[in-house]
Symmetry: C2
Subunit: 279 residues, 2 copies
């Protein structure tokens, strides 16, 4: 495994990660050198590499990275590419993957944990591509275009539907709704990124997977409570959903016991507080 992690680290122009987005990434919350949901991040990276057809770095090699972090809270970004070589799109066999990493200091947003967030519906529809669904790969133009749809900082996130108007995720977070006594999140077998916090909440029995056909927008909008979450930001209750023009309110939700309970489960995994109000 070739690695590079200086602050002014650079990538070869020939790296297939740059040429084609032929690679994967992880963004890991690290607190005082201790990574959160580390096993989930390493497992997703390894599964992604296998699905793309190259070898992931050894777990032991990855395990040495978080200790290089500065004190306090930061985000460790790991980028794993297929390396250079091959002829055009044709990958080299065997590939010589490369791993890049970078630490960025990070401050979470407690007011979003406590008071929840407003979101909007994105106009962009996610394309359905089962060969890439679930992976945190480097082909993220859909997310970029969706995030580019709004500039209003009062809107924390944008919800993404697929081309069948089924709800999938937000631009950088997974989502869930409460219904019939449980929390549901859409399956991600046709599009979307399988977040590590989502994985951990499912594995612990706090979150159930809804089939895509059971995730029309209307079900979400009519649910008694809803939220967004990822492994870096923690869990944000959603209090309001606007349309793409920010003129109509499609849904409004209270911050009730059910969302505080899921938030507590999520924050226990990340070392974030779960007693509110904190202000």
């Amino acid at each position: 495994m070739t690695g590079s992690g200086d602050t002014d680290a650079t990538v070869a122009l020939t790296d297939r990660g740059f040429a084609y987005g032929d690679g994967l990434f992880e963004t890991v919350l690290v607190r005082d050198g201790v990574p959160l949901l580390w096993d989930e991040h390493c497992a997703r990276l390894a599964q992604g590499a296998h699905r793309l057809g190259f070898e992931p770095p050894a777990k032991g090699w990855l395990d040495a990275l978080p200790a290089k972090a500065p004190r306090g809270k930061c985000v460790l970004k790991i980028v794993l590419t297929r390396g250079s070589g091959g002829r055009g799109y044709r990958p080299p066999l065997p590939a010589e993957p490369r791993c890049y990493w970078q630490f960025t200091s990070f401050t979470p947003m407690p007011e979003r944990w406590e008071r929840g967030v407003s979101v909007r519906l994105c106009q962009l529809r996610l394309a359905r591509q089962p060969a890439l669904a679930g992976l945190k790969h480097l082909n993220r133009l859909e997310n970029v275009l969706a995030r580019q749809e709004w500039q209003d900082d009062a809107i924390a996130e944008g919800l993404l539907l697929n081309d069948r108007d089924q709800l999938v995720e937000a631009t950088a977070m997974n989502l869930a709704w409460f219904d019939q006594g449980q929390w549901w999140t859409p399956e991600l077998i046709e599009c979307g990124v399988e977040g590590t916090l989502r994985r951990a909440l499912i594995d612990q029995g706090h979150l159930s997977i809804a089939r895509a056909s059971d995730a029309p927008l209307s079900r979400f909008l009519n649910a008694p409570s809803t939220c967004l979450f990822n492994s870096v930001q923690g869990l944000w209750p959603i209090v309001r959903c606007l349309d793409a023009q920010h003129q109509h309110v499609h849904g409004q939700w209270p911050i009730d016991d059910s969302v505080r309970r899921l938030q507590g489960d999520a924050h226990a995994l990340l070392g974030y507080p779960s007693n509110f109000p904190i202000f």
Copy 2:
């Protein structure tokens, strides 16, 4: 416009082209410093940048690149990214795009011009994403996965269908079939890359656009002749199409006058020969 084109040129780890595939590229045939289909390449790059929401380099700036080429035939690869900055997927406003370039010596394959090629059907289906269709953007994992499906060098290319079983393109070339006295190529409003040679052949009236719904695989397989082309390789007649397992022949075609005529039109645009046999 920031530019970089040394042979050992590198990309910042923070460049959004590397992080998200947030950019575009062109591969231009250059002969003794003279670029072929240059206006088409520059136009596609500019249109792509506008669709992604950032400024392309000035035409005059691009015009200075091909003259830096070594003597003989080479390929000029130009990569245009949104540059660094922004917060996660959110692009910086305004962006500070970066342009990278690289020359690679190139030798075409006259035996493929003359004798045609065998192709196969890829198993991967292209996802339909109108927001990105036609662009030569840096999110090319579908092409990589499709090209990874076979290793047999006797198979020159792989044909790609979308998830509705409509024919779109090959992994790195556009395609056409002859029918009712004309050459047809699929519209690319839901997926696929709009090649510059395809654009020039359409503009000159040598090639017509078929609606996606008029491009089922069967129409292609039953056509009297078929071909592949791009602005670097020229035009290859297709003589045989195999299934994904390379066990069954789905289609066979002669190299007839109609394909030689389109090849002549294409090669006139690229300075390639059009009188065969040349061996």
